[in-house]
Each structure stands twice: as structure tokens, then as C-alpha cells.
């Protein structure tokens, strides 16, 4: 009688754990899918308006960015970037649009010697300690020819600093910008990226392509702070559930083994 009761209890536990596991697995899949879509959005938000054609003369470098908006305030420009909003709930680092043209990929065609094109990127970091925001432009394999001459200049207009000025392919492993604080804050860093060709570039570089990926990251993950939003999703809760399930199962398994050994005796 007692044996049957125990078995029923174990069965109930297994079912409960299985349900928990299924939920955890579903949430994991959800997170992976969310990350996948959220990560692909910044590159494909609005690239259509950024084509340079032969009609356009030198790029408008003088178009200065608007003054920064208050961190944490909802803003019109922020609402125009749905990818930002979707990422904000879970990410401590994301691209934030101050202007409609911010954070869009370069799409420069018909570049000639002496041409330059500038774009702005605004990166927001939520952190509760000192972190270093790192940047790098990775030239994709297969585009080595134009990489021999395509230069870029990375500046932080609000910090009046030139991080790098030279060939894109020769950029250091990371261009670092320190963000120091001792309390929870959201820092914005505005990047001005100018791609240009020197006037001395010769005929051998005609009709060539180059594709590059821009990347920002923070390695001091302990000091990152997920921004608070209305999203109640808590990753750690699911982690706790999964770990708890694991311990319960191990305990259950051990108990069962002991019982089996006792029965055999």
C-alpha cells in the first residue's frame, strides 16, 4: 500500500518536473528566437535612404547630430526604432536612435577617390560600474582588394576624440572607450564613422566592393545592468527553475536507487 503511494508520489514529481522542463525548454527556444530576430534588426532597419549615387557630391558630414535626449525618457526618435524597443527589455547594450538616420548600415555606391561618407551610431549601455565600450569594424573575407585603400575615421563627437583614422582593415582589435560610474546609469556614446577614399587611389580599385560589419561590445559583464522596463520576463527565474529541477531529479534518482538496493537485499 505504502509502496504504491510512493510510486504515485514519484510519478507526480516526474510529471511536474517534465512540465517544468518543457516550460524551461520553451522559454529557452523563445529567448534564442528573440535574440536571433532582435540581433538582425539593427542592420536592416532603414537602409533604403542611404544610397549615394553619382548625382550626390560629397557626403554631408556637417549634419551634426541633435542634442542628446534625456536618458530614460521616452522619445520620438526612440519610438521610431522598433528594434531598440524590442531589445531594451533584456539587453544592457543596444543601439539607440536619436535621429532617423542613426544606426543604419552604410550603402555607398560609386565611390571615387576623394569621396567620403559619414554615418552616426548611438550606443547605449546600462551599467552599474566601470565598463569599457569596445568597437571594431570587421572586413569580410573576399573583399581584400578594396580593403587595401578604404579608410575610415572613428570619432566620438561628444567627447571630441578621434579613436582611429586609417585603413579599415588595419583597425586594432578593439577601439576602447571607458565609461566610468559607481552607480547604476545608462550611458550613451555617439560614434561618427566616416569612410573615405584618398585622392591618390588608382584605377585598379575601380568597380570593387567591400562589406564590413560593425560591432560594439562590453567585456565587463559583471558591471552591466539590465535596464528596468515593464517587461516582467526574468531569465534568472527560469534558470533557478531549471537548476532546481536538476537537483530534485538527482535527489529523486538517488533515493530510488537506495530503495532498489534495499528491495534487492
Amino acid at each position: 500500500m505504502e509502496e504504491g503511494k510512493k510510486r504515485k508520489t514519484v510519478k507526480a514529481l516526474i510529471i511536474t518536473l517534465s512540465v517544468l522542463l518543457a516550460i524551461s525548454l520553451a522559454s529557452l527556444v523563445g529567448i534564442l528566437m528573440f535574440k536571433r530576430f532582435a540581433a538582425s534588426k539593427p542592420a536592416s532597419v532603414t537602409v533604403s535612404d542611404n544610397i549615394i549615387t553619382h548625382e550626390k557630391e560629397n557626403s554631408d558630414i556637417s549634419s551634426a547630430p541633435e542634442s542628446p535626449q534625456g536618458v530614460g525618457e521616452s522619445s520620438a526618435s526612440a519610438s521610431q526604432a522598433p528594434s531598440d524597443l524590442s531589445e531594451r527589455g533584456v539587453k544592457a547594450l543596444y543601439l539607440h536612435s536619436r535621429n532617423t538616420d542613426d544606426n543604419t548600415a552604410f550603402k555607398v555606391t560609386d565611390m571615387f577617390p576623394g569621396d567620403s561618407e559619414t554615418k552616426y551610431y548611438c550606443v547605449r549601455v546600462s551599467h552599474k560600474g566601470d565598463v569599457v565600450l569596445r568597437f571594431r569594424a570587421d572586413v569580410r573575407p573576399g573583399y581584400e582588394k578594396l580593403a587595401e585603400v578604404l579608410c575610415c575615421r572613428i570619432t566620438l563627437p561628444e567627447n571630441s576624440g578621434v579613436l582611429y583614422d586609417g585603413l579599415m582593415r588595419d583597425m586594432p582589435e578593439s577601439l576602447n572607450h571607458a565609461l566610468n560610474t559607481d552607480k547604476g546609469t545608462a550611458s550613451e556614446v555617439y560614434y561618427e564613422i566616416t569612410a573615405y577614399l584618398d585622392t591618390s587611389v588608382g584605377n585598379e580599385y575601380m568597380n570593387k566592393d567591400l562589406i564590413a560589419d560593425f560591432r560594439w561590445w562590453v567585456e565587463e559583464t559583471g558591471n552591466l545592468d539590465s535596464p528596468q522596463t515593464g517587461d516582467s520576463f526574468n531569465l534568472y527565474l527560469w534558470m533557478c527553475i531549471a537548476v532546481g529541477s536538476l537537483f530534485l531529479l538527482i535527489l529523486l534518482w538517488k533515493k530510488r536507487k537506495k530503495e532498489d538496493a534495499a528491495n534487492e537485499r
Binding site: 543601439l95 576623394g114 560593425f214
Partner: protein
């Protein structure tokens, strides 16, 4: 015993699943916390400067004319801008050979406007400058070249020949106010 082994199997399976799940969660969490943002597919493409000079055909054929003093030969040809931008262009004579190189007076005209004038020897790559006007994208211009054998040419110019390549150089107008062909 059978039930026990089944339960043990189930439990083992569940434990494996949990371990895998926990690992996946750890990896995801790591990726999530290791916050990285990126803007991919930044494309840079360079333009082209390309000129079509009379489809590569010679403007005057061998043995086409027997020049005599006072004679003028008029030949038409075209130049077309196949570039992805407006260009400056210049026409010049290369690989010039024969005794008539310093005798025949050559004039290249765009309608009534004279672009170049001189002998084949004078109109070489280094001496000629860019034409005054700009050749727009896809623009095709019909030009005329005149070969004039001076009437007062001495007898020593008899039985002489002239061979040459008519060439064109082009360069983009963008960022090139000094019309540099470098």
C-alpha cells in the same frame, strides 16, 4: 524490477535533458550578458571610369587616301562616356610613326568648336590637356578629325607615311577640380 528499470531510464533521460537544458541556458545567458550589438552588411562600392572611343575602330584605314599638297581628309568618330560619373577627357596620338608626323596638320573638332590642333607629333599624351567641357554619364559625342596636307609642303615630304593610335583618357570630375589625369 521491470518498472524500476523503466523509471530509472526515464529519470536518466530526464536528467540528461535537464543537464542539456541547463547548459543551453548557461550559453544563452552568457551570450545575453556578454552584450554585443552590431550593424552588419556595410557596403562600399567604388565607381568606374570607362570611355568608348569609336568602338575601337581606326578613324582612318591604311591606304585609304593618297595625300597630296593642299588636300584635306575629314573623318568622323565618336566618344562615349560609359562611366558611372561625369568625366573630363583628352584625346591624343600615340605610337606615332612615319615622316608625315610633323607634316600633316590635324584638327579635332566637336561641331564647330576646335578641341585640338597640331601635328600628330605635337598632339601626344603629355602635351595635350583635357577638353574644355565635361562628358556626362552615357553621353555620346560625335567628333570630326581633319587631316590637312599643307599646300606649301616641300618635295621632301613625298612618299612619306603616318601611322598612329588615336587614344582617349578620361578621369572623374568629382573631387578633381584641377582636371588631373593621374
Amino acid at each position: 524490477m521491470n518498472d524500476n528499470s523503466k523509471t530509472a531510464k526515464k529519470l536518466t533521460g530526464s536528467i540528461i535533458a535537464v543537464v542539456v537544458l541547463a547548459l543551453c541556458l548557461c550559453i544563452t545567458t552568457f551570450a545575453l550578458v556578454w552584450a554585443t550589438v552590431s550593424v552588419d552588411n556595410n557596403l562600399f562600392h567604388t565607381g568606374t571610369v570607362k570611355i568608348n572611343l569609336n568602338d575601337g575602330k581606326p578613324v582612318i584605314e591604311e591606304h585609304e587616301f593618297l595625300f597630296e599638297p593642299g588636300m584635306t581628309v575629314k573623318k568622323d568618330f565618336f566618344i562615349e562616356n560609359e562611366s558611372t560619373c561625369d568625366v573630363y577627357y583628352k584625346l591624343y596620338f600615340d605610337n606615332v610613326n612615319g615622316g608625315l608626323a610633323d607634316v600633316l596638320q590635324i584638327t579635332v573638332k566637336d561641331g564647330d568648336r576646335t578641341l585640338y590642333q597640331g601635328t600628330a607629333a605635337e598632339l601626344n599624351r603629355t602635351e595635350v590637356t583635357a577638353a574644355d567641357d565635361v562628358l556626362k554619364i552615357k553621353e555620346r559625342r560625335e567628333l570630326t578629325v581633319y587631316f590637312y596636307f599643307p599646300a606649301d609642303a616641300a618635295n621632301s615630304t613625298q612618299n612619306l607615311t603616318l601611322t598612329f593610335d588615336l587614344c582617349a583618357d578620361a578621369v572623374q570630375t568629382k573631387n578633381n577640380p584641377n582636371k588631373l589625369f593621374v
